[in-house]
């Protein structure tokens, strides 16, 4: 007995301080470590970058398309603004817009999926057919239509990306919810007569978190790339906003003169996207093989 008790107790202790253990476990995988480093670097750059910018992002400091040199380390853009300063300032919009769009997508798709999977029956049928219709609609076309209808602005990007991502999210959430709905602890709560919202929040959601986190990486990446694409197309942010995607679009004509005006923002978007994917993948893989979390079977 003593052995079994101490075994149990150590399990309890490790549970008491999960952050450290989680971080260590996280970094054990090389890919995850690379991902975390890339992600931390970009987030730091986005947050504190503006403070280190040598010039204001909209100040004209030299001739257009000046090559890198003293005073402007990455050269200047198509109207002579400092590329480095604009890069340091231009991450916030991409990250924030993508974040907002992803959150919106999860709120929308998550709710639809939870309700469809839990209520089942006719509600499920109606919701899922609607979702299927949306899935069949070309993504970009939908946002471009939206922008044509209400005019280009940053919130069109957020709402548009939120809506086009939600059908897939709702399917993932629905599948996960369906699996849980027949479980004993959920049925016990239904038999107690607890409200649907309370059951979804207390019994279902906490058990879907794993699926959600594993799924969030690629979705956020998709948001970033789509935000970038839309800004590039001029649907979202407009010049002179210092935005990585807008920069790529603006400086394209001078690619052969000062390559950094395009390469620097493009590289940062790529690093951000790849890092998030690495982190998310590593997480999903670990959850997939780990036995301490999955309660399904003995």
């Amino acid at each position: 007995m003593s052995a079994s008790v101490s075994g149990r107790a150590s399990g309890l202790l490790s549970r008491a301080r999960p952050p450290l253990r989680a971080v260590r476990r996280e970094l054990r995988s090389g890919e995850a470590a690379v991902g975390w480093i890339g992600l931390t670097a970009i987030v730091l750059l986005v947050i504190v970058g503006p403070a280190f910018a040598p010039a204001a992002p909209s100040d004209i400091v030299a001739l257009p398309y000046a090559t890198p040199g003293a005073g402007h380390l990455l050269g200047t853009d198509f109207i002579g603004r400092d590329v480095l300063s604009r890069v340091l300032n231009g991450g916030r919009s991409v990250v924030l817009l993508a974040l907002a769009a992803t959150v919106l997508a999860y709120l929308l798709g998550g709710t639809i999926g939870l309700v469809a999977g839990f209520v089942r029956g006719r509600t499920d049928g109606v919701l899922m057919r609607a979702v299927d219709v949306f899935l069949a609609f070309p993504h970009m076309l939908f946002i471009l239509l939206l922008a044509t209808g209400v005019g280009a602005s940053w919130w069109v990007v957020v709402v548009g990306i939120g809506i086009i991502q939600s059908p897939q999210i709702s399917r993932v959430f629905r599948a996960a919810t369906l699996q849980l709905t027949g479980r004993g602890f959920v049925e016990a709560a239904v038999a107690r007569g607890e409200a649907t919202a309370r059951i979804l929040r207390r019994e279902i959601l906490p058990n879907i978190v794993t699926t959600f986190v594993a799924d969030a990486g690629p979705r956020f990446t998709f948001s970033i790339l789509t935000v970038a694409a839309l800004n590039f197309l001029g649907v979202g942010l407009r010049p002179p906003a210092p935005d990585w995607a807008v920069m790529i679009s603006e400086n394209r004509p001078g690619l052969q003169v000062n390559v950094w005006g395009v390469i620097a923002p493009a590289l940062l978007i790529a690093i951000l996207a790849v890092s998030i994917n690495l982190v998310g993948d590593a997480y999903a893989r670990r959850r997939g093989i780990s036995t301490d979390v999955d309660p399904a079977q003995p």
């Binding site: 007995m1 003593s2 052995a3 079994s4 075994g7 149990r8 399990g11 309890l12 549970r15 479980r183 004993g184 602890f185 049925e187 016990a188 709560a189 239904v190 038999a191 107690r192 007569g193 607890e194 207390r202 019994e203 906490p206 058990n207 978190v209 301490d292 979390v293 309660p295 399904a296 079977q297 003995p298």
Partner: protein
């Protein structure tokens, strides 16, 4: 003169890290003999069974000892030399035939494959048919062309046995061959095994967690606990004069419909691999423990001819004393009345009738058992009672007032008084909630406080199901199956119900743990006047706990009455068939004092 066909000597099986799973297992098997290996989960019985074929699962290795079958060594040789012996000299029938049979091969091919590998000279259609007929399976062309999924569970299991016997090995190892089957099918498979042993003189190692099943078929029994054989002897010696406290506990916890009695569980839970104590493995749970037990592992010593025991106190082991089951006698007023209940559901096979004109009453403090085979409609009735499934007709009354069909349409008070515990301990608790959160949930939801903080209330509920307070902060993954079911009971009790619906709540548990859970339920009935609807397929369990018995056959109540009357003189043929098939240990009647 008997002839030894299998000899296992000092078998030691370890994990790759060196933690022992099975230690010094030694036994022999005569020609034509059936040896039963009995143990609960984690006892190492399946590992031992596989080692008899010189096989160890991934991450496990045979670290010492020898296995000899029909004069041939199956240990300490290269894999390539052992492989031809598996199937021809010794064969294995795994627990779950639906997984073990290749789903893409037809019945004829499955058996032909065995012959092609082990007896190429006899690989002809006639031998294949003979192998099937041997197990009372049809041997016509249509059957030979079927796929495993087109067979019933019992047929699949018999096919697996036919495959194991096709190449006429000297020994067959059957690992829980009837565990997934209903009692009637189980009885048939057991009959087949007995008959084959008589007919062909094959020796059988029969591994099971169910002492009653093993006792019905085995000549000798080896009882395993935590990786060691703690007692081995002839079946009648083991049942009549068990010397090891664990065997004792096992016998006291086996439910039996022919000898209904109060069950006594073994306290504590079985130790896992790697956390075994230094001395006797059973010492922490042993009621007869003395200091010397904790210092060294006792040796397996002979106490009578052919009866060896691994216990230092085997010499003064007390005789088995069992108590007769207690029945409620007084006639309390009914709290729940069910009248003409009709319910069904749609499945892939079409409309299934789960209840057809079912009527019964449950009185205060009474335990009413609902018994039937799988698919008889038991679970659907339970779900209807607690408002999870809409009935097609009939009336349910709680204290004389009609209940609405769905939980949501019932009043809070009605829902509070009717609670449910489900079958599977692995999904009855939310894996993301601690024990405290799980039990406090209903307390808060129903606004029950008795003027005390929730924590005090939770601790008290845990005490009611005989769980220590320290489990409060554990997550379900850190609990054993029995502990989880008790937490689920505590969660149901938190609402302060007057009727608890228990849907097969012990069917996934080991017998000693099951006995402990049933003890808790009996005590709760006495303490709280709690009424129970106890749904089970196990007549033994029902005999030990319930007062009244309802037998359900395809949605129809075919028999009902006081449990002792129904068990003693069943009137419906279906009830009689269930009773005849259920394993029993009538020899134990001698040990019961009422």
């Amino acid at each position: 003169m008997t002839e030894l066909v299998l000899r296992a000597d000092g078998l030691r099986i370890e994990t790759e890290r060196g933690a022992p799973i099975v230690e010094s297992a030694s036994f022999g098997l005569d020609r034509g003999e059936v040896l039963g290996i009995v143990g609960e989960s984690g006892s190492g019985k399946t590992t031992t069974a596989l080692a008899l074929l010189g096989f160890a699962a991934d991450g496990v290795r045979i670290a010492g000892g020898t296995v000899t079958v029909a004069g041939r060594e199956l240990t300490g040789r290269p894999e390539a030399e052992i492989r031809p012996l598996r199937g021809s000299v010794i064969s294995y029938v795994p627990q779950d035939p639906s997984v073990a049979l290749n789903p893409s091969m037809r019945v004829g091919t499955l058996i032909g494959e065995i012959l092609r590998t082990h007896a190429p000279d006899r690989n002809d259609a006639e031998t294949v048919r003979a192998a099937l007929r041997n197990l009372q399976l049809p041997a016509d062309d249509a059957f030979l062309r079927r796929f495993p999924h087109q067979l019933s569970g019992g047929q699949q299991q018999r096919l697996a046995i036919a495959m194991a016997l096709a190449a006429a090995p000297a020994v067959a190892v059957l690992d829980e061959p009837t565990t997934g089957l209903d009692v009637v099918t189980q009885a048939r498979v057991l009959e087949e095994v007995k008959r084959l042993r008589e007919a062909s003189g094959i020796s059988v190692v029969y591994v099971s967690h169910d002492l009653a099943v093993v006792a019905g078929i085995a000549d000798r029994i080896a009882v395993m606990y935590a990786g060691s054989i703690v007692e081995i002897g002839s079946t009648s010696e083991i049942l009549h004069r068990p010397r090891h406290p664990y065997t004792h506990g096992l016998i006291s916890s086996i439910p039996d419909h022919a000898v209904p009695r109060r069950l006594r569980g073994i306290p504590g839970v079985a130790v896992g691999v790697g956390e075994r104590p230094t001395g006797c493995r059973f010492a922490p749970r042993c009621p007869r423990r003395v200091e010397a037990c904790e210092t060294a592992i006792p040796a397996l010593l002979q106490v009578a001819p052919g009866h060896d025991v691994r216990c230092i106190r085997a010499g003064d082991a007390p005789p088995v004393a069992l108590e007769a089951a207690v029945r409620m006698r007084e006639a309390a007023p009914p709290i729940l009345s069910v009248r003409d209940l009709r319910a069904g559901y749609r499945s892939r096979a079409g409309e299934v009738v789960a209840a057809d004109g079912v009527s019964f009453d449950v009185r205060r403090g009474e335990c009413v058992a609902l018994v039937g085979e799988s698919g008889s409609g038991k679970t659907t009735i339970a779900r209807v009672l607690v408002g999870l499934h809409k009935p097609d007709g009939g009336r349910i009354e709680l204290d004389g007032r009609p209940l609405a069909a769905t939980a949501r349409a019932r009043s809070r008070e009605e829902r509070r008084r009717l609670q449910v515990v489900f079958q599977n301990p692995y999904d009855s608790l939310n894996p993301r909630q601690t024990v405290e959160t799980a039990i406090a949930g209903p307390l808060r939801f129903f606004g029950i406080s008795h003027g005390r903080p929730a924590r005090v209330e939770v601790a008290e509920l845990l005490a009611k199901v005989r769980l220590p307070e320290r489990l409060m902060h554990r997550y379900p993954a850190e609990l054993s199956g029995g502990e989880r079911q008790r937490v689920a009971i505590a969660r149901a009790l938190a609402a302060g119900p007057s009727l608890l619906v228990c849907d097969e709540i012990t069917s996934a548990l080991d017998v000693s743990v099951q006995a402990a859970v049933l003890e808790v339920l009996s005590d709760l009935r006495k303490e709280l006047g709690l009424a129970l609807i106890f749904i089970s397929h196990d007549l033994g369990v029902v005999a030990s706990i319930s007062d009244r018995l309802l037998v359900l056959d395809r949605g129809r109540l075919c028999e009902s009455g006081p449990v002792d009357d129904v068990l003693r003189s069943p009137e419906d043929p279906y009830t009689r068939r269930l009773l005849d098939s259920a394993p029993t240990l009538p020899v134990l009647a001698a040990h019961v004092d009422s």
